[in-house]
Subunit: 167 residues, 2 copies
Amino acid sequence: MPEGATPPTQRGDFETSLSGDDGLDLRVWLRLLTCSTLIERRVRQRLREQFDITLPRFDLLAQLDRAPDGLTMGALSRRLMVSNGNVTGLIDRLVAEDLVERQPAPGDRRAQLVRLTQDGKRAFDRMIPAHATWIRELFASLDRKAQITLFESLAELKTSLANAERG
Amino acid sequence: MPEGATPPTQRGDFETSLSGDDGLDLRVWLRLLTCSTLIERRVRQRLREQFDITLPRFDLLAQLDRAPDGLTMGALSRRLMVSNGNVTGLIDRLVAEDLVERQPAPGDRRAQLVRLTQDGKRAFDRMIPAHATWIRELFASLDRKAQITLFESLAELKTSLANAERG
């Protein structure tokens, strides 16, 4: 950004749609959405520039990296919080590029497990430190205490969302 | 959700991709992303079921509703945090449905202002109370003090993101 330009958060974001009558919960939500959109946009841009990869592909590799024994399609789509159909298309393309493989699940030959290939693991291992650096830069002005407060507040929100889903 | 089923936050979400080595900032980010995805998914679903409208259209109507004198395309895309190109396509379709209109900006005939038509205003006015109710339900287990804490924590994060963008 050129020196002296207005930072993005002052140029307008989701919070600009608030009116004086709007409740605190709506204000919290639009601020949360603004933060999440700003971070996601930055990560998406860096992934494209430095690794020529999309964010959904990166998220999928990240989930498989944490599950060396593989994951079923159902488990993957739950962890990625998207539909099974969306995950299937992603997997097809990653299989075609030899980054991911499908295998029959032990004990249930009708089920399939998806996991990283050696190439996939190698590719993802190069992205991990870069991704960690981008996030560290974005959170750099929050000290550890502020990060803990936010982390705990978000835990309460997550519980509230789960309660609403159940209720 | 069927009684006794595991709530979505325990079935796995973005936080399941964390490893023991990951820093606090990454943990905060994945929890933030999980919350924001859960809320967005719920709002998207309700908008489709009850008003047959997509989330990007709703967000656009919400911004125009707060700007009765109209907004330029540039201002709109900044507030919606998306590219100008994306906004143009959305506007075209809303103009075709008589929910939104384009007019030359006073004093600068080359610039155009976008604003709600009467039909657009009427349609959006029906969505406001429903949307407020969905958000209230999602935040229902957070008391006012917890909401204020989260609101203030997110303000600090927003400042940190703006600093990173500048730096």
